[in-house]
Symmetry: C2
Amino acid sequence: MIDNDTMLLMIPGPVKTHPRIYAAMARPLIGHRTPEFKKLYNETLELFKKLIDTKNDAFIFTGSSTSAMDSAIANLVQPGDKVLNVIQGKFSERWQDITNAYGGDSIVLNIEWGKALKEEPLVEMFDKNKDIKFVTICHNETSTGIINPAEKIGKVVRDYEKILIVDGVTSVGGDYVYPDKWNFDILVTGSQKCLGIPPGLGFIMVGPRAWEIINERESIHSYYVNLPLYKQWFAERGDTPFTPSVPLIIAQNVSLKMMFEEGIDNRMKRHRRMAKATRVGAKALGLQLFAEEEYASNTVTSIKVPPKINSKELINSMKELGILIAGGQGNLRGNIIRIAHMNVVQEKDILVTFSALETALNKLGFDFKPGSGVAAIEQEFSQTS
Amino acid sequence: MIDNDTMLLMIPGPVKTHPRIYAAMARPLIGHRTPEFKKLYNETLELFKKLIDTKNDAFIFTGSSTSAMDSAIANLVQPGDKVLNVIQGKFSERWQDITNAYGGDSIVLNIEWGKALKEEPLVEMFDKNKDIKFVTICHNETSTGIINPAEKIGKVVRDYEKILIVDGVTSVGGDYVYPDKWNFDILVTGSQKCLGIPPGLGFIMVGPRAWEIINERESIHSYYVNLPLYKQWFAERGDTPFTPSVPLIIAQNVSLKMMFEEGIDNRMKRHRRMAKATRVGAKALGLQLFAEEEYASNTVTSIKVPPKINSKELINSMKELGILIAGGQGNLRGNIIRIAHMNVVQEKDILVTFSALETALNKLGFDFKPGSGVAAIEQEFSQTS
């Protein structure tokens, strides 16, 4: 029997969400032009900025994470501007789609899916294409399960004096992301991943070099995600130009506070611990990891589907056991499964996910030693903390 | 003592919300790419389309109502296109801002604030400006409290073969709105007014004449609210291109079902009854209505602030009594108060609002017969049903 109400969400969003967040979502609505709401909104923004240790401006859109990505390109890229879109999976592809939508001149640096972006191919592109103005990357590419060495990339991009636009949708809150230190000019993220609440809020951080470009533009063909409008409104009124999703702001406030209660280092360590255990478990079952292991994501793990196993059947089988995991996207459809370990995921969630994975693999006739995955994870958890 | 948790929201959004909606907001999250979510999303869209009796396409954005307004202009208006922006309050002004953002050639028809838009000034504008291509109106202008005769306006605009873009943010769900019958080409609305749930969803209906224009465009400088993308995605996959706010869709589904449980006619009659009682009560207190009474909105009533009374003090005084009403916006700041009667507002809410209003007016030294407003409303309610 599939019971969605008790389903453990081990997908890369929406994520397993804490009961305190559900309680916050059901809090009575307050008017969004009241002093009470302004206080709440400001505190939430400050907590977010503290999380990513930034002194730059940040804004919250009522929208999917994509609204923040849209904002980045709409406000910065003018028709004809050369934009280097680094593509290494489904989500980094989106930057190219948006660049094209706004008439940017997209040139693509393709990185093999499952591999991280290193400095060398970037340097090569910059040397060959002197007129590149912007670079888009996806920090943590959930479609393949890799995390890019963002600090090193940031340094190269800054050395070459390009503007770096970073999708941190699935890294912010689940791994270290320090845009100021790492030379990001724009960082976007969303509420429904490691920020721990339901979908519906997009976040954008805007650095001074990005503002310079925005401020020099004669016009920006964008209204809903127009950054100068958000900046002016916030400066003058301390809230948002358009009605924000009040319950989501209330919930985000609670979730950010919970992060600081746990401690940011503890939270990041926990994510790394869950990721490591997932990799250990997969290997113990004789499964192959898809992503380059040195750059394996700490928020989602991609695992190759063994020959003769149908990924859809595997996922459905786990769903019947109450655990939702994800399949592959784009070219990877049918070839990988993805187990996310984001937000409040803890030891018992990894253990039960692997118990269910073993049960499903067994049912589908995969040849392995039952219990071996869970045993390896137990071992891993008992030896580390 | 101000207790926001028990505050009665008599403001034009967020509105008084039913406990069933709060319960829905706290429902466990489900994955947005699951068959369960697709079913829920499709059903919600169908209920919305049934509410406005349309055969046209409709889409739901994760965003404020403004995201849907943004979409209308971004997808339809090309730089240089002549757009007639009818301005008669704060919300109709927004259409001009968006038109300007996308390079449209805005010409303005100013209607005195508090008055409705009639057919004659439109005809005059059309006769003088043959090259007008689009017309934007706000159906129910909450900043002044009027509702425009949309059916008549729709007929004129269609006769002149212009494209009519309608903001129905505060009419849909609280008053009759029939876009197909009334010749609307685009209708936008949002979740947090008479659709009865928290802010965070924008709705857009797109008629065939709007699609013709969209389909002929070479490019659309918009990504997050790109209509062809939403249309294609829905046709191919039955859901949304970007992560929707799952709890809001769940809540919207519940709220739409509640509307059909009450009966659409009953719902509209109830809104009219509450609006009439509000006007009766205000007049009994010796207060003057701001909006042209023949076109007074059924979802919000605007009342002139009497001389020597400070509107801020009046509003704060009511807030202390647990009732939140709104002040004026733009030019009307300080001059009017606005009492909204949207969504699940019922007799007792109007009665208590006026009891509080009388108490506050008393405190501020306004000369009137205490109890006279409430008495008139009781009379009104007891004579009608």
